[in-house]
């Protein structure tokens, strides 16, 4: 299998292509992003400007910004940074019924130590259960989509309810990279379709749905902006972990996103075993390009299993029990043909069609050009 000469992207990744030097288009996307969002002095200046804007917007309120927290290192460290820059964040956690004890304890420790208020949004578990089962039955690769969409929707919901204009998120393209759209593209329209077709009729009453019109309303009328501090600031996951452990008695939980048990199942069991998808290739490549690890280290990490066989079997059986799937149900789901996100209707086509005209709008919704926009320019340029 062909592997990018600069990172560890390989031919298992949809839409990948290589130039004469064996450098992949994904690598070029990563380089473009790194150039668009420089760290160092320029990044710090951009960030400081954002901090000022947040403080100004929040001066008559108890909070300057909303910070989504999962108990993982990225979001926990974000609270630490917010404190360092004198911001007054409201921490928000979405509870989908799969938070691990380590995650819950981490949120507790960090918010308590820093004296940060916590707001939680709990989705009715029967709705979560029905949505996750529907995604599995639909044969979707990224079955944790309902959680991802709900997290984003919750940030907007809480920001609007409490009257906060800025949402900070712990995304960092330098350590995560860009997952191919075939694996992860998602929107509310598609979620509704999949739930209607594969769900068992549980009505979605508490599930937070951020539809396109709602997002536009929040951005244009309410002026809510989505900010990713790690795009600007020098952030090294390993160093951040050490600091969090030292200052907050924060606890490491192993793999990327393993703080949530369903996410762990999706990453470490469902994707690799049913689809041959290893999302770590994207994450590790990004880390190689940002010089957090060497290419050899990345290749060596890819040889490592996601977790021990025993741990994976336990995670699977826990998920099966939590979703009320019998062995027979699970077998049926497992042996059904795998699909991808474009096998079901979504707003993707519409967004691509409108992309150029939507640019001014997008720049008002986000404080940055979203990676998807850049990805469309870079990854699809050749076709």
């Amino acid at each position: 299998m062909r592997v990018c000469t600069k990172g560890v992207w390989d031919e298992s990744i949809p839409g990948i292509s290589f130039d004469e030097n064996g450098v992949s288009n994904y690598c070029k996307l990563q380089e473009t992003m790194m150039a668009n969002y420089p760290r160092g002095e320029k990044g710090l200046a951009d960030w400081n400007a954002l901090v000022l804007a947040m403080k100004k917007a929040g001066k008559n309120s108890r909070y300057d910004c909303v910070v989504g927290v999962s108990g993982g290192v990225d979001s926990s460290y974000l609270l630490h940074i917010a404190g360092q820059y004198g911001l007054r964040p409201l921490a928000v956690n979405l509870d989908n019924g799969f938070n691990s004890q380590i995650a819950v304890q981490n949120i507790y420790k960090v918010t308590t130590t820093l004296g940060i208020d916590l707001e939680t949004y709990v989705i009715n578990y029967e709705e979560v259960q029905d949505l996750l089962r529907a995604y599995m039955k639909a044969g979707m690769p990224w079955i944790d989509t309902p959680t991802d969409l709900a997290i984003k929707a919750t940030m907007y919901k809480v920001a609007q309810a409490v009257g906060i204009q800025y949402i900070l998120r712990g995304n960092d393209f330098r350590s995560e990279g860009k997952q191919p759209k075939e694996w992860t593209y998602a929107d509310a329209r598609q979620l509704r379709f999949i739930h209607k077709r594969f769900g068992s009729g549980v009505r979605l009453k508490t599930y937070p749905m951020l539809t396109l019109p709602k997002m536009v309303y929040a951005g244009l009328i309410k002026g809510i902006k989505d900010i990713r501090p790690y795009y600007y600031l020098n952030y090294k996951k390993q160093d951040a972990k050490q600091l969090m452990i030292r200052l907050y008695d924060w606890q490491d939980y192993g793999g990327h996103h393993h703080e949530n048990l369903f996410t762990k199942f999706s990453m470490a069991y469902w994707l690799p075993r049913k689809f041959g998808i290893d999302k770590r290739k994207i994450n590790l490549s990004a880390q190689v390009l940002s010089q957090a690890i060497t290419r050899d280290e990345a290749l060596a990490q890819l040889q490592q299993p996601f977790a021990s066989e025993r741990e994976l079997a336990e995670t699977r059986s826990y998920v099966q029990k939590k979703l009320a799937l019998s062995d027979n149900d699970f077998q049926q789901i497992w042996s059904a043909t795998g699909k991808n996100t474009f096998d079901y209707p979504s707003n993707y086509e519409l967004l691509v069609k409108l992309a150029s005209r939507l640019r001014p709008l997008i720049s008002r919704l986000y404080a940055f050009t979203p990676m998807t926009v850049t990805a469309n320019q870079v990854l699809n340029a050749k076709k």
Partner: protein
């Protein structure tokens, strides 16, 4: 080192975990099994799970649910809700529960406690007593999730239940439930003084020192709490938590 037991008290409504304020305003907290798993990982001493709709709906707590709790909980746990027969108790025990909690049916049929205790031993039978002051009146025992006044005097009732073989009393002050402002210490004290079986204080814990007061001032044998273990901070974020053993040892050893 010996210290009083500290027990998360979890309420089940339909399939969800809820928390009340004064036995009303039930707030949805999420999936009960995840909470049980979290409390297990946090090494809680013991759990109590009560199905608050069971009696009203004329059924007993779902055995499938009790079994699932048993799968996740390594610590002893008690279950309650609509229990009215020896058979139902047997099924709950077989499903993994160590104790059963009986409330409304004990009032309707006090002799049942005798029969249950004879069959399973008193340590299996917990009688739950919910108490509040009736308008203009004095403290009395309520049943059916705090909706029906029985006219029973709490102290006399506690003594009767002890005489009938109850192994433990779970005493909740309805007015203090969910307020997080401390237990009803005079009430707990009155009942602790009246019986020699363990009295578990419930209703009102808002901070760890409330546990200490319940034990040292009101002589409770153990303490139970809901809000304190499921809410976090001024906005009452839903976040399962439980103190570390050394914190509890310190707490109770302070003079």
């Amino acid at each position: 080192m010996f210290r009083p037991r500290v027990i998360p008290l979890l309420l089940l409504k339909n399939k969800g975990l809820v928390k009340s304020v004064k036995f009303t305003n039930y707030n949805y907290l999420g999936d009960p099994i995840n909470a049980v798993k979290l409390f297990n990982d946090l090494k809680a001493d013991e759990l109590v799970l009560l199905d608050i709709l069971a009696t009203k709906e004329g059924r007993s707590i779902d055995l499938g649910f009790v079994r699932e709790v048993g799968d996740e909980a390594n610590m002893p746990f008690a279950v309650g809700g609509g229990i009215q027969t020896i058979q139902q108790i047997k099924e709950c025990i077989n499903a993994g529960a160590e104790k059963v909690v009986i409330n409304s049916f004990a009032v309707n049929n006090p002799a049942f406690i005798r029969a249950a205790s004879d069959e399973f031993g008193s340590s299996t039978i917990v009688v739950s007593i919910d108490i509040k002051k009736k308008f203009w009146g004095k403290q009395q025992v309520y049943t059916l999730g705090g909706s029906r006044a029985t006219g029973l005097d709490p102290v006399a009732w506690a003594q009767q239940m002890e005489a009938n073989g109850a192994g433990e009393l779970l005493v909740t002050s309805i007015e203090h439930d969910g307020m997080m402002q401390g237990y009803n210490l005079p009430l707990i004290n009155a009942l602790s003084a009246a019986v020699s079986i363990p009295v578990v204080a419930a209703g009102g814990a808002g901070q760890l020192t409330d546990f200490k007061s319940a034990v040292s001032e009101a002589h409770a044998s153990a303490v139970a709490a809901g809000s304190l273990f499921v809410y976090h901070g001024p906005r009452k974020g839903v976040l399962v938590n439980y103190p570390k053993n050394h914190e509890l040892v310190n707490l109770f050893s302070q003079a």
